[in-house]
């Protein structure tokens, strides 16, 4: 169907509906305040926006540092073809995190105070500084795409020169803030359910970021290969699936060790409100993907890899929501469910992410790398042009 020259598709309609609802909620947020737009209150000062937009958003954008690290630091050249799209995902993820923060902060117009009134004891301060710096780093990692588009080759050379430094800085900053998102909750051990209240929280947050970075890369490569009709790099996906399999085992074993150490293994098997959420988390984050990925044939099948990575993502999203919300509900004595306006803003931010991703893919040479290297037979490109591309 076409109206006024614009093709109407299902996803475009969904996008418009989400944007309209989201804009309405934005209006409520900035004209009536946080109380009117969300179900947050004095009992639940942190809701969906911190739990999902911030904690999960940053985790899902971790593919950037995982893949660039593998390619540039460890020289895993086979992954080179997905560097650009993961850097794009990471850059968008961090920018949207900041957008989400502008909704969640009570006084977003004072966000710059972070740079003036520094409290070095605060984990939140550390996260804020790292995210700010890392977003800048990602901007420079992403910049060559834009420069290439406009044939500005001199600045590309400058960026390429500092690329190793950018990559190392990116990994360093990611290690710090990915783990520190877990450290945020170290100060409230008394409020949290023992399932999640572990001093090892920073380690688990860092490791789950790596797992989700890999899972998101598989997920996003599969989706964009369908949406933009690019050839799927099967061997690359298989490799990522193998890495994900190993990382998930490491996390699973450490989780078990943590539960044994703290002597709460028994309570895991006793049904309780928290236990149900824990079971959901463990099933999606570990049981399902580990089962699927244990088969060699499954690691070679894009569909199976897609399912395993989706399950991993959902599992760790559940994990972070559990840490931020479920674990504290008993202490607080109330349940928290986000209001629809809260959800609509989260959806709007996600939709903006998808939209910007497809814009970037359509107008910037995100997938060009692999086209020139893999799909077009090399002799057909004149030498002069070849040097331009690289």
């Amino acid at each position: 169907m076409t109206i006024m020259g614009i093709k109407i598709t299902f996803w475009r309609v969904v996008f418009v509906v989400i944007m309209v609802l989201g804009l309405y909620s934005t209006y409520v947020r900035y004209l009536q305040g946080l109380g009117a737009v969300s179900n947050m209150n004095d009992n639940f000062p942190w809701g969906l926006w911190i739990g999902f937009d911030c904690l999960c958003g940053i985790m899902l954008a971790a593919g950037g540092f995982v893949v660039t690290g593998a390619v540039y630091i460890f020289h895993v050249e086979r992954l080179h073809c997905i560097v650009r799209s993961t850097v794009l995902t990471a850059f968008l993820g961090y920018v949207l995190f900041i957008v989400g923060l502008l909704f969640d902060l009570g006084r977003p117009w004072f966000i710059w105070h972070q740079l003036v009134y520094m409290n070095f004891h605060s984990v939140m301060f550390e996260v804020g500084m790292c995210v700010m710096t890392y977003t800048t780093v990602l901007f420079f990692e992403f910049l060559p795409n834009v420069l290439e588009r406009f044939n500005l080759h001199a600045p590309i050379r400058w960026v390429k020169k500092i690329y190793p430094i950018l990559i190392i800085l990116g990994i360093l900053l990611s290690t710090l803030h990915q783990s520190s998102l877990g450290s945020l909750f170290l100060i409230v051990p008394e409020k949290m359910n023992p399932f999640w209240a572990t001093p090892a929280l920073p380690f688990f947050f860092f490791l789950s970021a790596i797992a989700c970075g890999l899972a998101m890369t598989i997920f996003e490569s599969t989706l964009s290969s369908r949406a933009f009709g690019r050839g799927l790099e099967r061997s690359v996906l298989t490799e990522l699936g193998g890495a994900l399999y190993v990382v998930l085992w490491v996390i699973a074993l450490l989780r078990v060790e943590d539960y044994v150490n703290r002597g709460i293994v028994k309570s895991i098997f006793q049904p309780s409100y928290e236990a149900y959420f824990l079971w959901a988390e463990l099933a999606m984050a570990f049981a399902i993907p580990l089962f699927i990925l244990s088969f060699k044939a499954a690691r070679k099948s894009p569909t199976m890899l897609y399912i395993a990575s989706l399950s991993t993502i959902l599992g760790f999203v559940t994990n972070r929501l559990n840490v931020a919300m479920t674990s504290m509900e008993t202490w607080i004595g109330h349940h928290y469910l986000p209001k629809w306006t809260e959800v609509s803003i989260t959806l709007m931010i996600c939709a903006m992410g998808f939209f910007c991703f497809s814009l970037a893919v359509n107008y910037l040479p995100i997938f060009e790398d692999e086209h020139s290297e893999k799909h077009e037979p090399a002799p057909l490109i004149p030498i002069a042009e070849q040097t331009l591309v690289h």
């Binding site: 009570g106 004891h121 984990v123």
Partner: protein
């Protein structure tokens, strides 16, 4: 010297004069409806709770090492040397981490305002600095809320416990909780009946230590990790370079 507040539930008659005085001091509205509210909120910094004709006051505990001050990314809270934990609204960016971190759930938020602030009892810092008691202590007709030197009040609380065995449960709430506070509570019934967290639950260690242990590692961790990453980069880069040169040499020699 550091000041403190001692509240003795056995002396309290539940007149709520302290609530009214607090509202007046902090320029908050106060009427019968607000007096009837049993929850602390942005317009009620302190509350007198009633249970079977027994009373308990809730207010900020003014921890010696406050979690709110330690977690605030912009340092909007700080513990003054006189004892009060005060809040600087200008610095605040509204992240509400203080509300999450406080073991006593004291910071409250102006959810309905467009430029909201965190609210809590700040122990009348202006009055305290001027050598006057807090508004609530001054208003209390029975001496249930008493303001004074921290050390003196601890001694007095211990005295009361010793001289009236059986009247109180044998505990000064706030003496050791989360490393000690500047508000002490005495009660004939367990404190958790009024929603105060048990010592066994929150512990006697200052809460900032839990995150401090991790934050302390940063100055060592950052250069070490950067060095490792740089090292690995150098090694793997060098290997790639060598492999390339060797391949070129082989090509020059005409080998396959």
């Amino acid at each position: 010297m550091s000041k403190a507040i001692l509240y003795d539930a056995t002396l309290c008659i539940g007149c709520k004069q302290c609530e009214g005085a607090c509202a007046e001091q902090n320029k908050l509205p106060y009427d019968d409806k607000i007096a009837g509210e049993t929850l602390q909120s942005e317009h009620k910094y302190t509350v007198v709770l009633t249970q079977n004709d027994r009373y308990m006051r809730r207010l900020c505990q003014h921890c010696n090492e406050p979690a709110c001050a330690s977690v605030c990314p912009v340092g909007a809270f700080h513990k003054t040397k006189e004892g009060p934990v005060v809040y600087d609204v200008w610095k605040c960016i509204g992240c509400r981490y203080c509300m999450l971190a406080c073991a006593f759930s004291q910071p409250k938020y102006q959810w309905g305002k467009l430029n909201p602030r965190v609210t809590k009892c700040i122990m009348c810092p202006d009055r305290v600095q001027a050598g006057k008691p807090t508004a609530c202590a001054e208003a209390c007709p029975t001496g249930a809320t008493k303001f004074g030197e921290r050390d003196d009040l601890i001694a007095e609380a211990k005295d009361r416990l010793r001289q009236n065995p059986g009247t109180y449960i044998d505990e000064i709430y706030g003496l050791t909780e989360v490393g000690g506070t500047s508000v002490f509570l005495l009660s004939p019934v367990p404190f958790e009946d009024y929603g105060l967290p048990k010592l066994a639950k929150i512990g006697d260690k200052p809460l900032p230590e839990y995150t401090g242990r991790v934050m302390e590692l940063m100055p060592d961790f950052i250069p070490l990790w950067a060095l490792i990453l740089g090292g690995v980069y150098w090694v793997s880069n060098r290997r790639a370079e060598v492999a390339e040169v060797e391949a070129e040499e082989r090509a020059l020699r005409g080998e396959k």
